[in-house]
Structures are given as structure tokens and as C-alpha cells.
Amino acid sequence: MSPWAILQIDASADSSTIKRAYARLLKLNRPDDDPEGFQRLHQAYKTALSQASRHSALSTADVSAAVPDNTDSTAKPSPEHLVSWHYAFTEESPSLQAPSSQQHEDTQRQAALQDLIEQCRTLIHEQNGLFNVQAWHFLSREPLLLDPDLHEQLSHQIFTLLVESQDDSLLGDSGLIDVEADVVRYLNSLLFWDTQKWQLCHGKPEQACETIFSIIESGPATSPSRAVRGGKSIIPEKIKKKAKKLHYYYFSTPRMRGFAALLDLFSILLLVDAIYRIPLLSNYFSQPFWTDAKIYIVLFGYIVLASLFEKSRLQATPWKLVLGLKVMDHRFDPLSWKKAGLRAVCMSSIPLVFIFSELMMGYAPLIVFGLLFANGFLDGNFIQDRLTKTHVVNWRLSNERQEQR
């Protein structure tokens, strides 16, 4: 359907007819009631309006090419117009300006800008402007700042002046620069350097630029809670630290994982033995019972402790941590309680096989070794990993590879 058909008007209608038709239809068809119909109507309205304005621009062009169309509010302004609509020091309306006076106006503004920049140069080189923030206060009363175009030029030029002044006085490569932090921050608050870092630093000495921006960025941060008044205290938002993510991950090799697990088991064994040596405990339990129970205490101890460690922020048991391994879920996020629990249940199968070894008719060790052996052929993704959709990742290696890339 053509826009004119939707608006129920003639294709030759002028903009005021289009507006009237749109208004009439819109009142019958409110945006809240029929969003899609409204979007269609609005689209038709916009299209019709722009067609009409193009049409009228063409027809007026025949009469007088120089007179711009002032009656239609939707005509796109030319870029030259946009630049010069701020007049800080003229009382005249910009629309009344003849082209020649506009040019005159432009040269005048450029001259004022050059004067101002000259003034800043003297301030920096002769009048200790780098160390006295008050010397710069005159800038805030400068009407040129209100002009978007000149503001940008001024911003760039003063930044260049500042960098140049540093280039001469840069003391060796200590990275220290010779300017009061207050001055930099004050100028930034007027000239918005922080919003145009890359344009400003392009082709300038890197070190001076970096130092200036580090001064700006180290300034007092504006937190939303600053303006709040009263209250005993403000408890800031808990920012959840997102775990660092890499683009590629390398799984740990079975050998490394086995090594880590053995070391962890051995550590727990030592720990359990040490606890047993506490006099009270050794009196309580008989020696034979202890030798029988020890293996299970160590295995289940390992399973419980390992799950807790892997759920914790370390994401690894102590020896995995030493070897640079981390346990993650299938999205490479830290484990949830559910996943950590599942892993523990899977690993418990090994001691359970031992406990119920009588039911296995002596095959228990065989089953266990079979399972462990099979794991060796699973690309580092063991049975318990596959069942719980988790991974043990060689974090250190992955990290190093990423750095190299």
C-alpha cells in the first residue's frame, strides 16, 4: 500500500494536508490500541512528508534557486547550517544573516579563537599557567565555549599546547610530567578531553598523552551516590566480580590431573594421620579399626574437600591451583552448588565400589582401574566431567597462549 493510500489522500497533497490527514487517522487509531497499525501510519506519514518536501523544493527551485524552503519543517538542514547556529556574541537572528555577513562573522570568530589560543600559549610558557589553576578561570567566562565548532577547535588546540609544553620539559623517561593535576582536571571539565581521547592523542608523543589522561582518570570519580544528602551511610552496590573469560581454553591433560589428584590425596592422608596422632583420638579408636577406616576417610574427605574447594573462588583444589588448573562449567563460568555436588557424587562411585566390593565378587579393583584407565583416553574430559558437563581447564596455559596471540 502506498503511503498516500494509507493516509487516504491524493499523492499530490502538500505537507499541511498530509499533517491533517495523519492527525485525523491517528485520533481514530490510537498508538496504545494498535501499535502495528500506528507504526504503519507513522511510516506512511513520514514518507509522504519527505516526498512532499522534495517535491516542493524542486518546484521552488525553478522559481528561485537561492531561496531555501522555510515553510516545511521536515526538510533536512544542510551541514553548513548546523555548524553556525550558535551565536554567542551576536544579538541578530542567524536566519536573517546574509551569506556575506556570515562569512565576516566566521572570520571574526576565528580571529577571536586565535587570540584566545595565543593568550593560553603565553599563560603556559611565560606565566606559570601549568601550576596555577586560578590563572585559567578566565576561560569559563569565554563565550566561545558555547559554540560547538569553536569549542572543539579550542579543546584540541589547548591540548596540543599542553602536550608541547611537556615535550620540552619531560624529565628523561621517568614519565613524570610538569603540570599541576588541578590544572589538567579543570581544563578537562571545560574542554571535555576525556570524551575524545583517541582524536586528541593521535600523532602526539604517547607518553605525555598517557600521563595527562591518567591524571584525568585518577580524578575523583563521580558516583551516583555523591549527590545523595543525609543518611547515616550509603551502602554501595555489591559489584559482582565477573570471572575473567578467555577466547580459547585448553583442557588439562589426564597426566596433570592425575598428578594433582594424587598429591591432594597424599596431603589429606598426612592430615588425617596428623589428626589421629592427637592423643585423645588415638586412645578412642583401636588401631585395627583405624587402618581399615583410613582409606575411606581419606577418599571421602578428598571428595568433600575437593568439591568445596572447586566451588570456592579458587575454582581448584590446592594442588590443582599449584599446577595452574581450574574447574569450570560448560560455559566456562565458576561451578554452581549443584554442579559441584554432582561432581562429588560421581567421584564417590570409586570408594563406593570398594565398600560394596563383596557384591562385585572381587572385581572391585579391576572396575576401578578400568574406569581410571578409560579416563586416560577421553581427551582430558573424564567420565565425571562428561556426566556433569564440567571441565578441568589448564588455566595457566590458556592464559599464556592468549597473551601471546
Partner: protein, 562 residues
């Protein structure tokens, strides 16, 4: 059923209602149209809202909070005495107070409201506002943008056609909207804004500069002194324009004489005024309009009373901005008119309003060129597109046998998602296939309230998902909401009749603290007498004494800097 219109402001709030005779602003229990957005807890743990709470900012600053609208949509909490509140909860207390006032005024229960929010409020902040209303027992019929509300009020008031630029400088936010009126249609062409620019920032800058000049840091000053300094600076800001003001400041270790001059104020406010330029330029550029096509520049919001702001705007547009309606209440009036529109009031039958989405909404897509830079931003709804709107974009899987796709929702204008505001995410499972063979449709729907809904459809099996999993800051689950309702429900408001007396007592106490010597004793005497009369509980006598005390305090204050 009546729907009320509420302007929930940073500094002041107001509410109004559409009646047969047009807009009526609802006075609060003290008879004022404006209720300061200040919440205080008294020593019994009862809530005080409004002027009485504002008076307590000085002597009970640890139990009183103002300007908390800044924290909307975040999880920051403010501790009052021993209880912590989020901005949403504090706002809901203000809304509850306004609701009760409206119920008294209308003589019927009020359950529905139109609430105004800054045009540039993001999705989180809008949801937080809606939640605050829910916690106060109000159903939000519509969230309306503040400059749009102001424009409605102006449009109905003046009945003038043409293109208007609305500049809304409130206590905490600055909004710009470009509107056109014709044939009863109010069409917003573009909106832009700055959520961290408002009257409070000017006072903040004044306080900062005074402290800097005296070599002090904010935290070196006791809360009482800091609040006093704020009040003094706020008072000075209001009186600017006349002759120089000589203030005596108490900075703890030192007593300083400080002269507030127009020149000094102009210097420290320039950075803020320059910041106001950006949204103005952007709104005009987005609308593709020549500035001289603007028929009128309209100022809204209490802070537009600042002479320097008016003259800056005057210079920018080479014309005087207009301000025919009270800038403090015009937004509430507009919200009330919108409420009338929602009730389909006959008098408003031929008025239609269309608004825009002031910011770009989109999602993240893989950045193959430079993965270290982070994902690219894929805009879905572009800013200043007319609402309600619903747009679909298709994206493809990036890896072989990819099992799921995470759609992250962002708002902002930057090319990289990192620099934009994160709103939430949605993970959908997709069938395993080579990369690029599975596609999903992401549909963003933006409604008239400025709230976003996201639907994701997997093309191959036509499954649709629309539940955002990750909790956005400030959002609450149903269980949390119930808990918050219980917590706030347990808070008792002060008995209504005592409010005026309390405000007066608090005012007296504040004067007492800021005075010395004989004057101080005199004030103490007045307060004691008044308390005695209050204990007598004779309404007539209390009213008489209240009048006397108010006069006496007013007399004292007029001699003072305040």
C-alpha cells in the same frame, strides 16, 4: 475510578488529577502543592515525608535522606538509623505519602497513577520506578517522560501550534525534547538528556569549591556542618542575581566569611552549563531540523530559574526562552492530563500523544576482527524511533555445534557493548549444526511506558523464549517483592494531624542549632512553650499557638541568612 498524575522528582514531588474543570493539583497535608522528596525516620521508627522531613536534614541527618532519585535502578542502599533502604523503597514511601494525600483530597481510594520519569531514564530506572509504585500500592497506568508531560501541559494551556524545544532542568536530571503540535497531535521528534545534571549538582559544585578554597575534604566535615553548608549554599543559589551575599560559614575548625558573587557562581557552573549543550545539540541533530524552525524554547523544572542557565540558553538560540507556567508543577500537571487521557475523558478526546525511545537498544555480536576488544554492539531499536515499536533482527551461530546462544541486552550508543549499559540476558538452546546454519530471531518491543520486552525465536524449531534470566540491578524477584512489601508495610507513617506541628518543631530545632547565646535561649523558650501546649491536646489552642510560633520563627529567620 480516578487515575492521578504524579511527578516524582529529585527535590520535590507533586501530584494532580484531571477534573471537569481541567487540571487540579492536589495539596498535601500541610496545604502545599509541592512535597519535598525527603524521607526521615523518627526515634520511634515512624516515617516522616515532605517538609517536616526536610527540616530534619540538619539535626537528624543520619535519619534523613534527600535526593535519592539518583540511586534509582542501582543496588546502592541508604542507611537511616539502623535500617537500610534502596532508592526504590524510599521512593515508594514518598509515593505512599502522595497517595494518601490524594485519597484525602478526592475522598476515595486511589489505586492507579501515571508517573513521570526523566526522558533519559534507562530501562532499569524505569522498572525501579514502576516497582516503587507497586510497593506503595499504586498500579502504574503509564510512565510518561517528564519533558513530554510538560509539553502536554503547555500544549493544552496555550493551544498554539508549532515546533517546541522543551528543556527540563530538574533537581537531578536534564532532559531535552523536541515536539511538534498540530491538530491536537503532540508529536515528540527527538529526546536526549543527561541523568547526572541538575540543580543539586550546582549546589554540589558550590560546596566543593568552598571546601577546596579552605583546604578541606568532604569527609573532614561533620555531617551536621556539611548539611548546614549545603543549606546555606542552596539558599545562596536561590538568592543569586541580586547583590553579593556575605555568608558566615562554620567549617568546624574555622569560621569563614565567604562572599557569594554572581561571577564566582558563573565560574563554577560553567562546566555544568557546557554539559547541557550536548543533549540539546543531539536532539536537534537527530530530529534533522534547523534550529530556526523552532518556534519556542520552553523552560521546565525548578532549576531553570537560575539566571545563568536562562542567559546561556538565550545566547545559544538568540532569543528569550519562555516560561509561562510554574516550572515546579508543570510536569505534575502534564502527568495529570495524561491520566485524564488514560481515563478517556471526553474533554481530551481529540488529543493524541506520540513519543520516542530516547536511546538505542541492541545486543552484542561476535567481533571477529579483534576479539580482545570485546563484542560489537548490534543496534536493534535505534534512538528517537517513534514508540510503541517492535523490531526483529536475525543472528546466526558463530561456532560449529554450538549448543546455546546467549542474547545480552544493552542500551547505549557505543560501537562496543562494553561501553553501553547492560540490561539483562537470555540464553536459548539451539540444535547442533555447523556454524552459521542455525539462526535466531531477536525481537525487541518497546512500549509507550518506555519498557523493553525481548523475545527470542529459534528459527529451525520455532521455539520462543522471553524470560530474562540475569537479575538487573535494583530488580526484585516475586519473593523479594513480597518481603519488601512486608518491610515497608510495617513502617508506620506519622499521624497526619501531628505533621504540621512536627514540621514547626523541627524548624525551631534547626534554628536553635544555628543560633547562639540569647537568641538560642529565646528559641528554646518558644519550643518549650509550644510543647506544653501540645501536651494539653486542645485543638483550638494548638492552632493558636502554632500560628504564634510560626510567626516568631519567621521573624527570626528573616533576620538570619536563611
Amino acid at each position: 475510578m480516578t487515575i492521578i498524575g504524579i511527578d516524582l522528582g529529585t527535590t520535590n514531588s507533586a501530584c494532580g488529577v484531571w477534573t471537569e474543570e481541567g487540571v487540579k493539583l492536589i495539596p498535601n497535608r500541610l496545604g502545599d502543592v509541592l512535597t519535598p522528596s525527603v524521607v526521615s525516620l523518627d526515634k520511634n521508627g515512624e516515617v516522616i515525608v515532605g517538609r517536616a522531613a526536610r527540616q530534619r536534614l540538619i539535626n537528624h541527618s543520619d535519619r534523613t535522606v534527600a535526593a535519592f532519585k539518583r540511586l534509582m535502578g542501582t543496588d546502592h542502599k541508604v542507611k537511616l538509623a539502623n535500617r537500610a533502604f534502596t532508592a526504590t523503597e524510599l521512593s515508594s514511601l514518598v509515593l505512599r505519602s502522595l497517595k494518601e494525600d490524594a485519597e484525602t483530597f478526592l475522598g476515595e481510594p486511589v489505586t492507579d497513577a501515571v508517573i513521570s520519569v526523566p526522558a533519559y531514564f534507562n530501562d532499569n530506572q524505569r522498572h525501579a520506578t514502576k516497582l516503587a509504585a507497586e510497593l506503595a500500592g499504586l498500579k502504574v497506568e503509564r510512565l510518561i517522560n517528564e519533558p513530554t508531560a510538560a509539553a502536554i501541559a503547555y500544549g493544552l494551556h496555550q493551544k498554539q501550534e508549532g515546533m517546541f524545544l522543551i528543556l527540563d532542568l530538574g533537581g537531578g536530571t536534564f532532559d531535552v525534547s523536541l515536539l511538534e503540535f498540530f491538530d491536537g497531535i503532540m508529536e515528540v521528534h527527538a529526546s536526549a538528556g543527561d541523568n547526572f545534571l541538575g540543580g543539586e549538582d550546582f549546589v554540589d559544585a558550590m560546596v566543593d569549591d568552598v571546601l577546596r578554597q579552605n583546604g578541606l575534604k568532604r569527609d573532614q566535615l561533620k555531617p551536621l556542618l556539611l548539611q548546614n553548608l549545603y543549606l546555606q549554599m542552596e539558599g545562596a543559589k536561590r538568592k543569586l542575581g541580586g547583590e553579593n551575599q556575605l555568608l558566615n560559614l562554620d567549617l568546624g575548625t574555622q569560621q569563614v566569611d565567604f562572599t557569594v558573587t554572581a561571577d564566582w557562581f558563573a565560574r563554577i557552573s560553567t562546566p555544568l552549563l557546557l554539559r547541557a549543550k550536548h543533549p540539546i545539540e543531539r536532539a536537534i541533530r537527530d530530529a534533522g531540523l534547523h534550529p530556526n524552525k523552532i518556534d519556542d524554547v520552553v523552560l521546565v523544572g525548578g532549576s531553570t530559574r537560575l539566571g545563568i542557565f536562562r542567559s546561556t540558553i538565550g545566547k545559544m538560540f538568540s532569543r528569550l526562552p519562555s516560561c509561562h507556567l510554574d516550572p515546579d508543577t508543570v510536569v505534575a500537571m502534564g502527568a495529570a492530563i495524561q491520566a485524564g487521557l488514560m481515563m478517556r475523558n471526553e474533554a481530551l478526546d481529540d488529543v493524541v500523544l506520540t513519543d520516542v525511545c530516547p536511546y538505542t537498544l541492541g545486543t552484542g555480536v561476535l567481533n571477529h576482527d579483534n576479539p580482545r576488544q570485546g563484542d560489537y554492539f548490534l543496534p536493534i531499536i535505534e534512538r528517537n524511533c517513534v514508540v510503541p515499536v517492535s523490531i526483529v533482527k536475525q543472528v546466526y551461530t558463530a561456532h560449529d555445534n554450538q549448543a546455546e546462544v546467549t542474547v545480552k541486552v544493552y542500551q547505549g550508543e557505543h560501537r562496543l557493548v562494553e561501553k553501553n549499559v547492560y540490561l539483562g540476558e537470555l540464553t536459548v538452546p539451539v540444535p547442533a549444526a555447523p556454524k552459521g546454519h542455525e539462526a535466531i530471531d531477536i525481537r525487541y518491543s518497546y512500549d509507550m511506558n518506555g519498557l523493553l520486552e525481548v523475545d527470542v525465536t529459534v528459527i529451525s524449531n520455532q521455539k520462543t523464549f522471553n524470560h530474562l534470566i540475569e537479575h538487573t540491578p535494583g530488580a526484585l524477584s516475586d519473593a523479594d517483592k513480597k518481603k519488601a512489601l512486608e518491610k515497608l508495610g510495617a513502617l508506620k507513617f506519622h499521624p497526619r494531624d501531628g505533621e504540621e506541628n512536627r514540621a514547626l518543631l523541627a524548624r525551631g530545632e534547626r534554628l536553635y542549632e544555628s543560633s547562639l547565646g540569647e537568641r538560642r535561649e529565646y528559641i528554646a523558650h518558644i519550643i518549650q512553650q509550644f510543647e506544653k501546649v501540645l501536651e494539653g491536646q486542645h485543638p483550638a489552642e494548638i492552632a493558636k499557638a502554632r500560628k504564634q510560633v510560626a510567626d516568631a520563627l519567621a521573624q527570626l529567620e528573616s533576620e538570619d541568612w536563611f
